[in-house]
Amino acid sequence: MSSVLRILLRRLGISVIVLIGVSMLIFAIARIIPGDPARIALGPNATAEQVAAIRAEMHLDEPIVAQYGYFVADLMRGDLGDSLYTNRPVVTDIVEFLPATLELVIVAGIMMVSFGLPLGILAARHRGRWPDHVVRILTLLTVSAPSFVWAVILMLLFAFYLPLFPVAGRLDDAYDIARVTGFLTVDTLIARDLRAFLDALHHLVLPAVALALSGIGQAARLTRANMVETYDKPYIEMAQAYGFSPSRIARRYAFKPSLIPSLTIIGLDFAAMLGNAFLVEAVFAWPGLSRYGVAVILRKDLNAIMGTVLVIALTFLVVNIIVDLMIAFLNPRIRHSTRGAS
């Protein structure tokens, strides 16, 4: 068995345990709600009989362990219950709103890696000199404000004062694109409408930058720190003695081994964007999971709150597994070992 496969299996095993834990955590959060969930579901005008009927339906009179059992049994069938807010199954709601959020987070993640890593490499190559100081101040600034502050400032500068980008939404009303995946960048290409595709990208720029900024700072700082450590290694001195160019040393000998420890944290940052998307979506009226999440929270719509958190936790776990696999592929010690030493 290849070692990468072995890591995947071990990772999946741990993920199952963590997922069971997350389901318990979410179930526990749902039970600390003050008041009677049945009464909340029905509203203040319900009769005692109606409340009793709903209590029986929600299994509220049974022991807590049995209640958790019903909760998990429903989960296994992919049933997250109905939302009180939309009167539809929570799963239907999430399928509708999740793609918009994922699209935003993925684009922001791409920005985080493609700007953060080069900035970190730049700072490490010129460590102790002015490019390093400039990058340090810039990255400290980007991590020093919540994404909604960046969103508001970017909107003010590049949508109002310099009207370069749209203020809100995902696509201009002029385009009517059939929904296939829910990812507009994909759906517009399926519809072979290049102008709509560009318009979707145009709408993505500001929210994605607002979401990515602090991640770019984190990634750059981390890459710099790991690379500076690598620069002290003897093989770097060796490469310098060979007369390799500084840029070749930076890319091939200092950056590569530094990438592996950075990746884990970059994965965590990427996942944190799923939470921060709540803030950016609110500013740019982005019709994603956040708007739904905030609406259901204000209505104390338990099924919908739990469903939303569960789906985000699941996405988070998947991202972490992907990151672990990438590390396994990138690390020659794992990739080339046949015995699967991890």
């Binding site: 955590l25 020093s144 404000a145 939470g275 709540f278 259901v296 958190v309």
Partner: protein, 277 residues
């Protein structure tokens, strides 16, 4: 202590961080005396001066009902800093004890405790806090609870990783050989070696708690009006962009300044205490 201060002062950025943090602390503590309009932290209405940009009377303009933004920012700092201190005072010891036990004892304790930590870390922090506040009432106390619930696992992980590597060190083995009790080894031998990392993380985390707390109140899940909070001020002002820009820009900058100060100071402390990133 004096040596540490001298090292921090020798780096202009760290010094700037220290000055920023001290200034913000002072303005928060003395807000009732510094604020030009100390009553504006409540449901005061002054329509004569409503919705005005920065003037000599109101340096940062006024909101829709005529309250002075500058005064409200000073009061909002009190809430942010209190929240940060309370969260860290609770979360740090809890996380530290869990991390120490898991890291030093190992075996069965380690597996159970760290899996629990993994569970908490596998929900994005903000989402976990939103979920807790979703079922509780949105108040300052509940916001503190929600943020604390999501914060302790990070300390557990930090201390765990240090404790696990320290447990193989000679001084720990020596203490074990002479029969020191487990609690003594964990808290008197290993814990002091975790302190530099914990202190650095606490300084940096003051900034991050302010970010998370303002994010919650931005979503309407934190401190409720009319009490001033940086996040809810930005949210309220965002509805009147671009015309009333001062309503969002100044509270937003206030968050940036405070967090930036703690980050600069934390970075400086990291160097002084020799903590790795």
């Amino acid at each position: 202590m004096i040596r540490a201060l001298r090292i921090i002062a020798s780096n202009p950025l760290s010094l700037m961080g220290l000055i920023l943090v001290l200034t913000i602390l002072a303005t928060a503590v003395f807000a009732p005396w510094i604020a030009p309009f100390p009553t504006h932290n409540s449901a005061v209405i002054d329509f004569a001066f409503a919705n005005q940009g920065p003037t000599a009377r109101n340096w940062m303009g006024t909101d829709l009902v005529g309250r002075d933004i500058f005064s409200r920012i000073l009061y909002a700092y009190r809430i942010s800093l209190t929240l940060g201190v309370v969260v860290l005072i609770i979360a740090t010891p809890v996380g530290t004890i869990v991390g120490l036990l898991a890291g030093y004892l190992g075996g069965w304790t380690e597996s159970v405790l760290m899996r629990v930590v993994d569970v908490f870390l596998s929900v994005p922090p903000l989402v976990l806090a939103i979920a807790v506040l979703g079922v509780l009432e949105p108040t300052l106390t509940n916001a503190m609870i929600a943020v604390t619930v999501m914060w302790w696992p990070w300390y557990a992980r930090l201390v765990y990783s240090i404790a696990r590597s320290e447990r193989e060190e000679g001084y720990v083995l020596a203490a074990e050989v002479i029969g020191a009790p487990t609690a003594h080894i964990a808290f008197r031998e290993i814990l002091p070696n975790c302190l530099p990392a914990i202190i650095t993380k606490m300084t940096l985390d003051m900034g991050f708690v302010i970010i998370i707390a303002s994010s919650l109140s931005f979503l309407g899940l934190g401190v409720q009006p009319p009490t001033a909070d940086l996040g809810s001020m930005v949210a309220e002002g965002a509805r009147y962009l671009p015309d009333s820009w001062w309503m969002t820009v100044f509270p937003g900058m206030a968050i940036l300044l405070a967090v930036f100060g703690f980050n600069l100071l934390g970075d400086g402390l990291r160097e002084v205490l020799g903590v790795e990133e």
